[in-house]
Every structure is written in C-alpha cells, then in structure tokens.
Amino acid sequence: MYGKGIAKGLWVTFRHFVNTYLDDIRYAGRKYLRQDNFEIRQGLKAQGAFTVQYPDEKLAVPERFRFIPFLVVEDPDHPERPNHDWCTSCGICAKVCPPQCIWIVRGSDPATGRPIPEPEAFYIDIDICMNCGYCAEFCPFDAIKMDHDYELASYDRTRHHIHDKQRLSKPLSYWKQIAPTTALEEAIERGGWEHPDIIKVMKKAGKEPVQPTAENMFAKPAALTATVPEPPAAEAAADADPAKAERLRKREEALAGKRAAEGGEAPAAAAPPAASAAPAAESKPAETLAPGGKPKFDKQAMLAKIRERKAK
C-alpha cells in the first residue's frame, strides 16, 4: 500500500512526541524535583526530548573536561607557602603546546641572575589555546591543570583574553574540588598531597608524607620547617627576606664548592651506578629548570652517606 512507509515514519514521530510528555509526568512533573530524576532523563533510559534550561541551569561537566589551563598554587591558608606557585618554570608546557600559546619568563635571582624554580611571568593567550590538555598531561609537577569554567566571553579580546599569572592562578583546593578522582590519582602517584619537590625534601629528611586518600583530601598540610633540615626547605619555600638571603648564600657556597670539586667530581659521580641512576631519573625535569638548583649541593653529602652505608 502506498503511503504505508510514511505512516510508519509518522508513528515514530508521534511516539517521540508522546514519550516526551509521558516522561514529564513519570518524573515528577515538568521540572525535576529530585536529582535522580534529572540523572535518569539525562541517561540512557531517557525517552523523548528533554532540555536543560541553560543558563538557568547548567549541566555539570565531567572531571576530565578540559577548557583553558590554570596554574595550581598552594592554598591561601597553607602554613608555610601560601599562594606559592607549583610551577617551577621548567618550560615543558610551553614546548608541548601545539599552538604555542604559553609564554613563560623564568624567574631569576636578582642578585646572581641565576634561574630559580618559579616563574616570574606566565601568559596564556586563550584565543590561541586549542584546549588539547597537553600542558596538564605532561607537566611533571602537576602544576598546570585544565579548568572547567567555560564561560569566558568578554567585550575586549585584546585585554581579557590574555591571561597572566594572576588570572591563571587558582588554589590547589579548587583543583581537588573540580576533579576529586583525578587529583587523588595524581597525589597517589606523587606520594603525597604536597608538591613533588616538597615530598622529596620530606623524604630526604626522613619524614613520610601523609598517604593521600579521599578522606584527607582537604586536610590542612602540616608545617614542615620544624622537622626538616633547613637548606632544602628554604629552597622550596621562603619568600621572606632573611630566608632569601640565606638561600643566596647557600647557593653561592654550593657553586663555589662545585667549581672546586669540578675536576674530581666526575669519576666520583660515576662510581656508584645504582645510587646515581635513581636521583637522575627523579630529577630529570629539575635538570632543565635549574642549572644551579638544589640537586647539586646535596651530591657530596649524599655520596658520603652512600659510601658510609656501603662500608657497613
């Protein structure tokens, strides 16, 4: 019979139409009074049409959703380094960025001119950013993450679309909030909730960082200075002036020591392969970041310790 196919098709349309209203009735009226109703209507059991009334209501995005990077900084209530950058300005994000939208000015010590592991400036041109997420994926310090805030329209792209360090910085707790599972996975991989460098310092000082769990996610980090020997802690934290002066002095000493030991150091470093391999792998990004950085001045002490252990 001619027209049967059309009638069949119209029946499908009719079913869609009816189902929409049936579902509206089934799930408590036109609005979803209960959260699970919403979930059902957004899920696989949904029938008919269903609209989320943007912008009155907004569909939350999944954890891995990525839109424009932000920089992780310590929480403002951190006992030792509030608002301190996690970024060490190693430059990997700028290198892996496909459209090259990241500009970093590596921080340097005003007195010595030597690079220090924190960025002086950090820009992302969000008009160029293609939201690929490589910066977050390849950052060895978990210091840059992809944001969930997708409402970035503005009236002036020349001013508002270049995000500087201040605009980019968001506290660690924000990241834990928007991506709890991912943040936990990352922390477990790092070995603690703290910055990888701090964890290293803690371990060196013989203090085990708290094992990350979903429960202690938002717990306030304990102060370290009391338990940790000074130089590395000062290296990692310390914005106050005396600490900075101390740090400069230490660095100068280390450099001098290094220059003095230049000749004899090479064979010594090559001697215990097992010992030197581990820190080399560990501090790979650190090498690119700070030629005069902390791994150097610890070396002699470390070697001495290893020799001691071997002697026993």
């Binding site: 999944p62 954890e63 990525r66 430059g91 290198k95 496909p98 590596r106 041109d125 969930h148």
Partner: protein, 619 residues
C-alpha cells in the same frame, strides 16, 4: 557477507621484481634509509602506471602526494600509493623532478582519482602535470603568489621553521601575532609583484572553462521552447553544502549538464602547520580535520607515526588494553558519524531536522562517554603514540561546582553495556523504521546519483561511497590494523550505488559496529586494570628516519597519513612531510560525474550522501 582472497605481503616484492624486469632502466628500488617502494623515471611514468594497474592489478590509487626535498636533495617527488581492491599492502612508487622546473606527467587518464590530488600538488607545490585536463589551483585562489607547501615559502605570520618557538621560554614575553603583523599590513608581497596589476582571476578562469561567457547561446532542440544554458552557483554559503563549499552547475533547464566543485574556503594549510609542529603537536590538529569523527583521525595519525617509531630500537607497541580501547572508540565514532550523516542526509532531502535531531540526540549519549573519557566531546585528542591518553574512568561523573549544578553519575561499564546492547541497537532500528520504508525517501533517492563500481574504484572513492557501489573494500579487512583480525564482523556491501544504498549501507555499518562493540565489551572487562601504555609516555619521541603511510577505515572512507621523518638532520622532532589523504576531499572527485543528468534538488542529496566535512576537504 563476502569472502575474498587475502593477498600476502610477499606479493609486493614480486610486483617490484616484475616491474624491474619490464622496465629495467626506468625503475629502481628506493634505497634511502627507511623508504620503500620504487622510484620511477618520470618520463615513462604513464606507461609504467598503466602496467601497474592493468598487469599487476593495483587498480586503486589511494594517495598521490608531493614532497619537497629542499635542502636535502634538489628535488621534488610525487609519491603514489596503489592498492588492489582485493586487499593487501600498497605498491609505493615515486617520480622525482628537479625543483627549479618541476614537471611530472599526469596520471588522470590512468586513475581519474588523481585529478584533485594532482591539482593540489600543483597548487601547493607548483608541480605541473602535463596531460591534466583541468590543472588549476584547487584550495587557493587563482593569482595566489607562490606555492605554500614548498619548504622555502614563508607565511605572513612566519616565526620559525619548527616548533617549539624560541620566543616562548625561558624569556617569553607575550606578543599577539597581530601586534607584529598589523591588520592591513599582515600580508607580505614578494618584490616582483606589481600590486596594481594584481587581480583575482579565478572567476573568469572558472567560467571560461565552462565555455560560457556573457553571450547567450541558444540550444538546439525544440524551436518553440527557448531555452538557454544557465550557470548557477550553489554555495559557498548554502545550507545544503554542510559548510562552505561551492558547486558551479551548468543547467539546461532544470537538468544538470556539468558540475564543478570549488573548495578551499576553509583552507588553513593544515599540512604546513603540521610540518612546523612536532609529531605530538599534530595529534590535536587531526581532531579538526573531520571534526565529527576525531577519534578515528587520531588513530590514523597514531598508526602512521607508530609505523615510523617501530623502525627504532626502543619502540614498544601499544598494549592489548590500549588496542581494545582504541577500537571501542573508533567504532563508537563510526556510529556517531553515521547518525550524523543519516540525519543530515534527510535534511538534504527536505525532512527538515526531525530525523537529524533524533539522530543527534542518540549521538549525545556516546559523546557523553567521550567527554568523560577524553575530556572533550568532539576534539578528543585521545590517542597517543603507543597507547591512549588515559584509561576509561570508573564512573562517568560530573562534579557540581560554582558554575555548574546539574550533575550525573554513572558506572562506566554499566553505561557502556547498556549503550551498546540496548540503546544504540534500539535507535538504529528506530531510524530504520522511521526512514527506510518511507515512500518519499525512496522516490527521492532510489536510482539517483548512481556510481558504477568500476568508476568508484577509478575515482579512488572510499568508504560507504565505494561499498554502496558493490566494491567490498574496507581497510579493516583489506589491510588490517589494531585488533580487527580477531574480531568477527562483515563488510557491509550494497550494489545499487545510489543515494538509497548509501543510506542503507550506513545503517548496515552501524549494525556491524555494534557487533564489534559487543565483542569489545568482554575484552574490556578482561583487561581491566592492565596498562594502557607500553613504556613511558614521551612528549618528544625520537622518530627514526624514513617514510610511513598509515591508513584507517574512517567513517567517511579511507583516511591516510603520509609522514616523512627527516630525522636528526632537519629538525629532529618535526615531520618533514605530513600529508593527509582526506576521504571527503577525494570522494568529491566523483561528484560531478554522479550529478550529470539529475535535477538541482538532487545535487543537494547526492552531496549529502557522500557525507563530506569541509574541515577535512579543505584542510
């Protein structure tokens, strides 16, 4: 549905031997490190190509592309990949030509599918093809100065040959590109151009080719009925073109006499960008080719680069779980794409947006999964060399925060199981019930846009377009990759080669995809917790010297990536050549042929049945 002989890889050396026996002084093997195939004397290219097609049986020219070896050798090269439609690996042959006067005979008469690809090589590389019937620029405008893919050609925003750019770190003060290149002054003209004489002659060239001027030509026939040949421009801004695409149609009354596609409105020189990029940088750029099916694009590119990496000593192939996830993703992508294609084909037939919206609503469910896994609905950027970005999450969960309040939380495996076993099959059946028997759909599509099988092969058509014409050619079976050999599925084939069959074959393929996905689910369960990455993830892998051609069966057809790594001599981390064999682009070669004799309204439907995406066509 089909059984056909599996051609062994050992066939290629035999073919090369035969070639060398027949043309001892014109064919020599390509002995450069990491290269394969033969180098052919360009003066005898046409007869050798004829031999390859007719005597050796390589009837399908998949890709023809140029490479500029500026600085390595003073030569340009055309690289051809010919396949047998019976299956098996490629016979790669190349023709070299000096850079200062590049000229290679055209192969259009052997493989009409070389038409657009040679025009592209002329456009971007400036290689002339004597014997080509219509050698015009294809992606750029007539009058464009220079050939941008040449290595010594620099774009207006040129900064450096290779990324990463030195200006970004360690002292990277932000500069917006337009500050350096002020609007109005952001185009650089070569010294030998006289701007006052510069004009865009593309339109004149187009119309003069059609044999039409201002003068009215009376047509022969019934003297009482005064008719006239008329040129109609469809597009570029036309809703039926699925983007910005233009067709110049010569009409006799309502009937189409000739149709010429004009493209390039979305051209961004993807390949030049790709050659500035590092290998890894290119991955998210492939998302933007066929943006409906970014997962498949990712896989094609990853396979090509993995082929190159495999030549190195330290290469570790992807783990089994990574392969399972890859197949899961690309098959879901195929379903996504076909929902879209069918929905919009019906739009083109005049069923305005009801079928399209039903299809899109179903597609959303898959995109939700993509978003939770890869982080983005469409620009997935999910595959990596040697694995995938991340394992599929335990839960598809959205998190309420300050800006977003409506949350969802599903167990991923349960979600996938229900999606694959119930939701998708049900919606495919519904589409079937909705459209297949509809008399309107049938009368508009049956017998329209017929493409005979031999012509489909000759025109290098791929994907559903080729298979709807009765050619059972599918890269997943013809040259299997990933874990397809162990999966049980059939190649969907239809034989009528018209719009209706192209619609039906998409339904068939979706059902086959569901069949594959049902086999993937237990594998996912079994490999839960296994690593998704062999070795460690590197952002700057050392890619050994050589060439590779990776191809996958994209939803739209065969997507190929031809990659040349010049290794450490020239930019260690960057592909020397990065070419995309775009199915949407090459499938359009046959559009003109398919439209002749039909009405204007049919053109829209025929174009819709090819299923193009302009992001891929124009690159």
């Amino acid at each position: 549905m089909t059984d056909y002989p599996i051609v062994e890889a050992t066939d290629i050396p035999a073919a090369i031997t035969a070639l060398k026996q027949h043309y001892p002084d014109a064919v020599k093997e390509d002995t450069r490190q990491g290269y394969s195939g033969v180098v052919v004397d360009r003066k005898r290219l046409v007869e050798i190509a004829k031999f390859i097609r007719d005597d050796l049986g390589f009837d399908y020219l998949s890709s023809a592309t140029a490479v500029d070896y500026y600085g390595i050798a003073d030569e340009m090269e055309m690289v051809y990949h010919a396949y047998r439609t019976a299956g098996g690996p490629a016979l790669v042959f190349k023709a070299q030509t000096p850079r200062d006067n590049p000229e290679i005979p055209s192969l259009v008469e052997i493989w009409p599918g070389a038409d657009f690809q040679e025009r592209e090589a002329w456009d971007l590389y400036g290689i002339r093809f004597p014997g080509h019937p219509n050698l015009k620029r294809i992606l750029l405008w007539e009058g464009f100065h220079g050939h941008p893919m040449r290595k010594d050609w620099h774009e207006a925003y040129y900064e450096q040959d290779h990324k990463p750019f030195d200006s970004r770190w360690p002292a990277g003060h932000v500069r917006r590109a337009e500050e350096l290149n002020v609007y109005g002054k952001n185009v650089r003209y070569p010294a030998d151009i006289d701007l006052s004489k510069l004009s865009d002659r593309s339109e004149e060239a187009l119309y003069s080719d059609l044999g039409l001027g201002v003068s009215i030509q009376e047509l022969e026939g019934d003297a009482s009925l005064k008719t006239d040949r008329l040129v109609v421009n469809m597009g570029p801004h036309h809703p039926s073109t699925h983007g910005v695409f233009r067709m110049i149609i010569t009409l006799n009354g309502e009937t189409i006499e000739s149709l010429e596609p004009v493209m390039g409105y979305l051209h961004r020189n993807h390949e030049k960008i790709g050659e500035r990029n590092t290998f890894l940088h290119n991955m998210p750029f492939t998302d933007r080719l066929d943006y409906i099916s970014s997962m498949s694009n990712n896989l094609g590119y990853a396979l090509a680069v993995e082929q190159l990496l495999a030549k190195g000593a330290r290469y570790q192939p992807p783990t089994y779980r990574a392969e399972v996830i890859r197949v899961l993703m690309v098959e879901l992508t195929r379903i996504v794409n076909h929902y879209w294609a069918i929905g919009f084909l019906l739009n083109d037939l005049g069923a305005f947006f009801t079928p399209a919206l039903y299809a899109i609503a179903e597609r959303e469910k898959i995109l939700d999964f993509f978003e939770a896994t890869a982080g983005s609905r469409m620009m997935c950027n999910y595959m990596r060399f040697g694995g995938v970005f991340k394992d599929i999450p335990e839960r598809i969960r959205s998190v309420a925060n300050l800006v977003n309040d409506r949350v969802r939380d599903f167990n991923t495996m349960e979600y996938l199981t229900e999606l694959i076993n119930e939701r998708i099959p049900r919606s495919i059946d519904e589409l079937d019930e909705f459209l297949t028997e509809s008399e309107i759909v049938k009368s508009r599509s049956i017998g329209v846009g017929y493409l005979p099988p031999e012509m489909a092969i000759a025109y290098s058509a791929a994907g559903p377009l080729l298979r709807a014409s009765g050619v059972p050619y599918d890269v997943r079976r013809a040259e299997p990759y990933s874990i397809y050999p162990e999966l049980d599925f059939d190649i969907a084939v239809r034989t009528h080669g018209d719009i209706y069959d192209r619609y039906l074959i998409r339904l068939d393929e979706m059902r086959e995809s569901v069949r594959i996905l049902k086999q993937i689910l237990p594998r996912l369960e079994r490999t839960r917790g296994e690593p998704i990455f062999a070795g460690s993830k590197q952002h700057t892998p050392r890619v050994p010297l050589g060439e590779a051609y990776g191809r996958v069966e994209n939803p739209k057809g065969e997507l190929g990536f031809y990659i040349v790594s010049a290794g450490d001599e020239k930019g260690p981390q960057n592909p020397w050549r990065y070419h995309v064999r775009a199915p949407s682009f090459i499938n359009l070669t046959a559009l003109g042929q398919m439209c002749i004799g039909h009405k204007v309204a049919d053109v829209v439907a025929i174009l819709g049945s090819i299923d193009i995406v302009l992001g891929e066509t124009d690159r």
